[in-house]
């Protein structure tokens, strides 16, 4: 009997959490037309976007360099090192750019968002805002939400571009692949709509999911120090899993069916 009770309690708990998350998302989405929220959003873009730039650029550079190095050692056996460019570009644009950016974003910005909003809740700042007739969804949640959604695709684009330049650095400047074939075979293989736009769509979806999870976990956290630490951990774990799972679904939809 207690088994069924706990099963029922868990199910009801999950479903009500999804309901609360949807209400919060709705409240945040509604809040966009407010003009006075734009400066707040720009400030949040600085926090979640600009401050993530360094980690994004450095990881993009190194991932591009590693891929060029690994790809070269295999491709040179078949005399196909000219195909290094499309290999690096396609893997970055289609998969690594959106996915690694989302994972880094969840760790760098998502966890900070959860901790910040959770601490606001614990110190009753959110309740004080409500007392002053300021809607915390509009004032706190919406700017962070939109900043996340705008910033992550931008970060993913920068990641891919830096990675391709990193691949050029190792492949062309160090290992001696012909620069002309690096760029020209890349150009004839990579398609704007098929590869670049699909990658941006992917990272938009990841941005929505990661930011939503991060903000909701903070907004819904138990307002104690233990509760906030748990919420922060849950944000990183849950958004990483969601990104990897969704990536498979999106890849199957975009590239799987020919």
């Amino acid at each position: 009997m207690s088994f069924f009770q706990s099963l029922g309690a868990t199910t009801i708990g999950k479903i009500t959490a999804i309901g609360r998350a949807t209400i919060m998302l709705f409240g945040a989405l509604i809040a966009v037309p407010r003009v006075k929220n734009i400066p707040l959003t720009i400030k949040q873009m600085h926090v979640v976007g600009v401050q993530s730039l360094l980690i994004i650029i450095v990881s993009g550079l190194f991932i591009g360099m590693v891929m060029a190095l690994q790809g070269y050692t295999i491709l040179v056996d078949y005399g196909a090192e000219g195909s290094l460019g499309p290999m690096v570009a396609l893997s970055l644009l289609r998969e690594l750019g959106p996915v690694v950016t989302a994972l880094l974003f969840a760790g760098r910005a998502g966890s900070a968002l959860t901790a910040e909003i959770g601490l606001m809740k614990a110190t009753e700042q959110l309740s004080s805002l409500e007392m002053m007739a300021v809607d915390p969804l509009r004032r706190i949640v919406a700017p962070r939400f939109w900043a996340g959604i705008i910033s992550m695709p931008m970060l993913a684009i920068i990641f891919s571009a830096v990675g391709i330049l990193g691949g050029h650095l190792v492949g062309v400047d160090w290992l001696g692949v012909d620069a002309g074939s690096y760029w020209s075979i890349m150009q004839s293989t990579v398609d704007w709509n098929q590869d670049v736009i699909n990658g941006v769509i992917k990272s938009l979806v990841f941005a929505l999911v990661v930011t939503w999870i991060a903000i909701f976990k903070g907004y819904d956290s138990i307002p104690t120090s233990e509760g906030i630490s748990k919420a922060t951990t849950e944000t990183v774990v849950l958004s990483s899993l969601a990104v990897l799972g969704l990536d498979f679904v999106l890849t199957a939809l975009m590239f799987g069916i020919e």
């Binding site: 720009i42 600085h46 600009v50 910033s151 684009i157 571009a161 890349m186 990579v190 398609d191």
Partner: protein
């Protein structure tokens, strides 16, 4: 002052993104801005299309002039019909032109090779929606090997 700095940093962030996007669009991706307005359509029936795929290139002497848009099977005589969309700037091919399915390199991808025919009096130019009459099918390796073995067998007798 602090607000000013924030806005400058976000501005740099946006500029970096635009720069990255420009790199991706100009150097990485092939911007085929070939929309319906800039192309005209030709059809070609082949006996066998081999490994030809939609979005394969159509080349005249190595220059890409268009792409394969769709590949379908004609329901009446069960032969593949390939739809080619050719850029409008390359028009005026004579009706005697022929197309064949070629392979770039030994293991490369397949493309449609387009040989413009001779134009003389009485030969009209190809128009939108025309069928190309002179087509050569793809080389299928198995058929080639079969033919070779057959020839060897008949030599021995």
């Amino acid at each position: 002052m602090n607000k000013y700095k924030t806005e400058v940093m976000v501005g740099i962030f946006v500029a970096l993104t635009i720069g990255a996007l420009l790199l991706l669009s100009l150097k990485v991706a092939n911007q085929t801005v070939a929309t319906d307005a800039d192309t005209y359509t030709l059809y070609a029936k082949f006996d066998n299309i081999g490994g030809l795929k939609p979005r394969s290139a159509v080349k005249v002497g190595g220059v890409t002039v268009g792409r394969v848009t769709t590949i379908a099977l004609d329901q009446e005589d069960f032969t593949p019909v390939v739809t080619l969309s050719i850029m409008k700037e390359y028009n005026g091919f004579p009706e005697t032109s022929s197309v064949s399915i070629l392979t770039s390199g030994l293991l490369g991808e397949q493309y449609v090779g387009f040989q413009p025919g001779f134009s003389f009096d009485g030969v009209a130019n190809l128009q939108d929606g025309d069928y190309l009459q002179d087509t050569k099918s793809a080389l299928v390796l198995e058929d080639l090997i079969g033919q070779f073995l057959f020839n060897r067998g008949s030599d021995d007798e």
